[in-house]
């Protein structure tokens, strides 16, 4: 009964209700502005809450997180610029849909699927938190390493034109992510003796450069042929369309929750894995994947919002961030005098149920603002390319500068933008670079911790991948992905098809 009263606290208190609504609205629109990531939206908006009471802060944070993850998909669909890493997979089919004049339908369908995913994530958080958290607690460093490699491999497989280019891009991303001082030994890596590089290269500068500036330059090639203008048609998707994709949405949401709950992974990997799973399992998509398939939109949109609920599980029960945004939230919780971790649920169970209630409320606001604001938002991209592209550059500068107030980051953004332009022209995918930057440091630390734990014995290191049940499952999954990229897999399928 107590749990229920705490669940509905944000619903019944007008102030908390208003704060959840403001958080969701701000999350959607800041997350949707090209170049402004949900991480930035969260870090700026959460910084207002440090002087507030805990409940007000948690209500706003819930809205910002859910709204920000969803908002990132808007620009992914309309401009091919993901507003957040979790929207990278959305752009793969969302943008081709917009190019076909189905931008309104794509956003509408994406909104409904995000809300379904959000609810699945919240239900998992409420009922499966103890089970999933105890499962995640068993993870060893080698398991983190395997998960990160699996994530990178999946992105490599998404680069369908050339696997070598996909792997090159991912490895380049890993190197960019490793620039700076080694956190374990304080040795300089890839700094070329430059003191400014000791702190590493800003991930936001790389993301905005590769996705924002590079896209602006790339758009110049077709500036006379077409404008960024997208035709926004019917906003509310037909019930038949929603019903058709509910099973895929639920499957993708399950992936989203599971991946979101794994420490160190978040909506970005969840959405890419869900996209890949849909690509492999949907036999007759509405259109080929990458050309505007609804399935390619439904899967990542359901998964990335489901991952929000999943990301709260290790954050609240173990004190481990699921992704960059949950890392910021953990920092905010500490400032509010809370200690996220196993004792949080024992000592302050009301707080847990308040968070679940706030997230549910934010998800409802997401549906209202998401479907209600499509036309308003679409007006922003009906401007001619000649007007909108310089504006995107200015917003990209603001977004990059605001993170660390560093002009050097802005120069990095330009450099990444120019390199990213050539990469795009010559068919190198940029999404693996971003994933490499995120996962590179995690892979490095996990590998070295695993190796140190076996005292640099390569035999024991490899043996543990098959002797530990959890590691064995992950290793088999890893091998399955590797084999699926080889001609053997193709021949196997052809043989199976012939036999059938």
């Amino acid at each position: 009964m107590d749990a229920l009263s705490y669940f509905f606290m944000a619903w019944l208190d007008p102030r908390l209700l208003m704060l959840t609504a403001i958080g969701t609205f701000a999350g959607i629109y800041v997350g949707a502005i090209p170049g402004l990531s949900v991480t930035m939206a969260a870090s700026i908006l959460i910084s207002f809450t440090f002087t507030w009471d805990t409940n007000s802060a948690l209500a706003l944070i819930a809205g910002v997180f859910l709204g920000g993850v969803y908002g990132g998909s808007r620009t992914a669909i309309l401009l091919n610029i993901p507003g957040a890493p979790s929207a990278v997979a959305t752009a793969l089919d969302g943008y081709p849909l917009a190019q076909r004049g189905e931008a309104g339908k794509a956003i509408g369908l994406g909104t409904v699927m995000s809300v379904i995913g959000g609810f699945v994530g919240i239900i998992a958080l409420a009922f499966a938190a103890p089970v999933i958290s105890s499962f995640a607690l068993m993870f060893a460093p080698r398991d983190y390493l395997l998960i990160a490699i699996i994530g990178i491999l999946l992105v490599g497989s998404l680069a369908s034109s050339s696997l070598a280019k996909g792997i090159f891009a991912a490895a380049l991303g890993v190197v960019i992510g490793l620039v700076g001082m080694d956190p374990m030994t304080a040795q300089a890596r890839f700094t070329f003796g430059n003191f400014n590089l000791m702190g590493g290269i800003s991930y936001v500068a790389a993301m905005i450069g590769f996705f924002g500036v590079a896209e602006v330059l790339y758009q110049m090639r077709t500036i006379d042929a077409a404008s960024v203008k997208q035709k926004i048609g019917r906003m509310l998707p037909e019930w038949s369309l929603i019903r058709k994709y509910i099973p895929l949405s639920l499957r993708s949401s399950a992936i989203g929750v599971t991946i979101g709950a794994l420490p160190g992974t978040g909506g970005d990997i969840a959405s890419l894995m869900a996209y890949d799973q849909a690509k492999r399992t949907v036999k007759n998509p509405s259109r080929p994947f990458g050309k505007g398939a609804y399935e390619g939109l439904v899967a990542p949109e359901s998964a990335n919002n489901a991952a929000v609920g999943g990301a709260y599980i290790p954050m609240l029960t173990l004190g481990i961030p699921g992704d960059a945004v949950t890392a910021i939230i953990i920092g905010a919780l500490y400032i509010h005098g809370l200690r996220p971790g196993p004792l949080l649920m024992v000592e302050t169970p009301h707080l847990f149920w308040f968070v679940v209630g706030s997230l549910t409320l934010a998800n409802i606001f997401l549906l209202i603002f998401g479907l209600g604001g499509i036309r308003l938002f679409a007006k922003m991209v009906e401007l001619p390319k000649g007007i909108i592209l310089p504006l995107i550059v200015v917003l990209a500068v603001v977004g990059t500068f605001a993170v660390q107030n560093s002009i050097t980051d802005v120069y990095w953004m330009l450099a990444f933008g120019i390199v990213g332009y050539f990469l795009k022209v010559y068919g190198f995918p940029v999404a693996p670079i971003i994933l490499g930057i995120i996962l590179g440091p995690l892979m490095d630390l996990s590998y070295r911790r695993a190796m140190i734990s076996v005292r640099d014995d390569p035999g024991r290191f490899l043996l543990e991948f098959i002797t530990n049940p959890l590691s064995l499952v992950l290793t088999l999954f890893f091998l399955l992905i590797v084999i699926s990229q080889t001609p053997i897999w193709k021949r196997l399928w052809q043989f199976r098809a012939k036999s059938a």
Partner: protein, 171 residues
């Protein structure tokens, strides 16, 4: 409108099979050189002194870069060119058209003007110059639009999101 996805020459990212673009071999070769330079840098961190040193993972990453870059270079060499004329002429006509060079120069000038002139003035100048260069009509409207856009961006970020923006000699 011809969508990029329908025209492999415009959007090679979405095409599965296409000819070699002008400058593509040089770019791939530069990627290989970069991989080798980074590989050497990775080796200088801690060499092969252990399996859990700071340099081992950078060596693995740069080694992967070198191998994949070799595959990319070989693929490009094997691929037939998509263009008929001199590659340099085609490079500046298709890959690096004058419009792209001018806009990239405008962007670079804008970023380097941020500190001396401040966000408001440099952004206003860039917006107007960029829009005038790309849109090429209704200049008075563009002037007003640039001023209005900068006012909205400045007020929103400076006072609502409390973002500190580069400040120059005036604003």
């Amino acid at each position: 409108m011809t969508s990029p996805s329908e025209n492999p020459a415009i959007d090679p990212l979405l095409s599965t099979e296409r000819g070699r673009l002008p400058g593509e071999i040089i770019f791939a070769f530069l990627g290989l050189v970069l991989s080798l330079v980074l590989g050497y840098q990775a080796w200088t961190i801690s060499g092969f002194s252990g399996l859990s040193t700071a340099g081992i993972f950078p060596m693995l990453a740069t080694g992967t870069m070198v191998i994949s870059a070799l595959f990319v270079v070989m693929g490009n060499v094997r691929n037939n060119p998509e263009y008929q004329d001199n590659w340099l002429t085609m490079f500046f006509a298709d890959v690096l058209a004058p419009r792209i060079i001018v806009f990239a120069v405008l962007m670079t000038a804008y970023l380097f003007a941020l500190q001396p002139l401040g966000f408001v003035i440099s952004s206003f100048l860039f917006l107007f110059a960029g829009m005038a260069f790309l849109y090429r009509r209704r200049y008075l409207m563009l002037l007003a639009l640039s001023a209005a856009a900068i006012a909205v961006v400045y007020l929103l970020f400076r006072y609502v999101f409390v973002v500190i923006l580069p400040r120059g000699i005036f604003l």
